[in-house]
Symmetry: C2
Subunit: 216 residues, 2 copies
C-alpha cells in the first residue's frame, strides 16, 4: 500500500506519518522507485502501536523511539529484553530530587516486602521521587498505606505477567508486552477512579440517594 492508504486505514494524517518516518518511529517503506515506496501490514501495526503509546500511554515521541529501538534489536533473550524495555518506560518527571531518606525508605520497603529488586532499577528511584512528592506536599505516605497498596500491586503484577506470558509466540510479543504495560497503567488508573466513585457512593449515599443520583 502507499502512504495515502496507510493514512486512511490508521486515521493518522499523511504529514504526521512523514514526521514519524523522519523521526525513525516508523521504518521506511520498501522503495520501488525514486519517489515511490510500498508499505505493508507491519507498517500499519507499527503505526497503531506508536499512536497507542503516545495518545493513550502518554509517552513522548523520543521515548517511543527509544523503546522501539530496543524492541527491534535482536540478540538478548526475550526476558531480559523485556526488562530493558520496562526500564525505559517513564514513571515520573525528574523535577523532584528525592532526599537520601526517601531513597532509604524505598529500599527498606522493597526489602521488607521481600520483593526481588535491582538496586539500580529506575522504578526504585521513581518510588523515592513519589515519596518525596508526598512528603513535600505535606501528606507523607504511611507504611501501612504503602503496604495495602503493595498487596494490590502484587495481585496486579500477577495479572500482568499472565497476560504477557499468554501472548502467542510471535515476533511481536515484546510489542504486546509494551502495549499491555503502558496502556495498563492508564487502564488501572481509570478503573481505580471508577471504583472510587462506587466505594464513595457506597459509603456516603443511601439507597434513595443512589437512585436519585443515577437518574441525574
Amino acid at each position: 500500500m502507499r502512504i495515502a492508504e496507510l493514512s486512511e486505514r490508521s486515521g493518522v494524517p499523511i504529514p504526521t506519518i512523514k514526521y514519524y518516518l523522519r523521526e525513525g518511529l516508523l521504518p521506511r517503506g520498501e522503495a520501488t522507485g525514486r519517489n515511490q515506496a510500498r508499505y505493508g501490514n507491519e507498517h500499519l501495526s507499527r503505526l497503531r502501536l506508536v499512536r497507542a503509546l503516545t495518545t493513550v500511554g502518554g509517552l513522548s515521541v523520543a521515548t517511543v523511539r527509544e523503546v522501539l529501538a530496543e524492541v527491534g534489536e535482536p540478540g538478548v533473550g526475550l526476558h531480559s529484553k523485556l526488562g530493558l524495555v520496562m526500564r525505559r518506560l517513564p514513571l515520573v518527571g525528574d523535577d523532584i530530587e528525592p532526599r537520601e531518606e526517601d531513597r532509604e525508605r524505598a529500599r527498606a520497603f522493597v526489602t521488607r516486602r521481600d520483593w526481588f529488586f535491582y538496586p539500580d532499577h529506575p522504578a526504585l528511584e521513581a518510588l523515592a521521587v513519589v515519596l518525596a512528592g508526598h512528603r513535600e506536599a505535606g501528606h507523607p505516605v504511611t507504611e501501612a498505606d504503602l503496604d495495602r497498596y503493595a498487596e494490590s500491586a502484587e495481585q496486579i503484577a500477577r495479572v500482568d505477567l499472565d497476560r504477557i506470558s499468554g501472548l502467542p509466540e510471535a515476533e511481536d510479543v515484546l510489542e504486546g508486552a509494551v502495549i499491555k504495560t503502558v496502556l495498563g497503567d492508564t487502564l488501572l488508573a481509570v478503573l481505580r477512579r471508577l471504583a472510587q466513585v462506587d466505594e464513595s457512593a457506597e459509603r456516603n449515599l443511601d439507597e434513595a440517594g443512589r437512585r436519585a443520583a443515577r437518574e441525574g
Copy 2:
C-alpha cells in the same frame, strides 16, 4: 515572608513563582505597599501543592488552576465537591475517539460489576478510550483481564477512601484528597512496576540467577 524566602523554602525559582501568581495558581500576597507584599505559610503550602501536582502528578498548569479554583470555592458540601474535583482530574488524552462499541463495553462492564456510576462521568468515557486504544493497537483487553484488574481496583479504592476519610477535619481536606488521588496514581504505577519485576524474577529466575542479578 517575602518572595525570596518563599523561593528559598520551596525550592521554586522566583520567576516561576511570579509565573504562578500571574496564572492564578498562587494567590497574591497581602500587599503592604505599592511594591511590597507578605506571604504566609498558606502560600508556601499552596506552592508545594502546585509543584507536587505538576511534577509528580503530571497535571498541566491549566488543570491545576481549574482544580484549585474548585477546591477554593465555598458552598457545596465536602463529598460532592470532592466529586467535582475528581471529575476534572485528567486520565487520558482526547486524541482517540472511541467507537460506540467501546462505550457500550465500558457501560456493560460497570453494570456487570454492579458498580454505582454516573452515566456522564468522565472516567466512564476514559474507560472507553482506553479500551479503544487497546483495540486499535491490536491487543484488545479481555473481559477476564478487566475483571481481575477490577478486583484490585476495588481493593485500592477502599484504601483510597480510608486514607481520605482519615484526614483530620481541617480546611485542607480537599487539598489532601487531591494530592492523595493524583500522586496515588503515580504511586500505584510505580509499585506495580516494582511488583512486576519481583513477579517476573519469581517466574523466570532460579535462586542462583536471583542472587547473581541482585549482585549486578
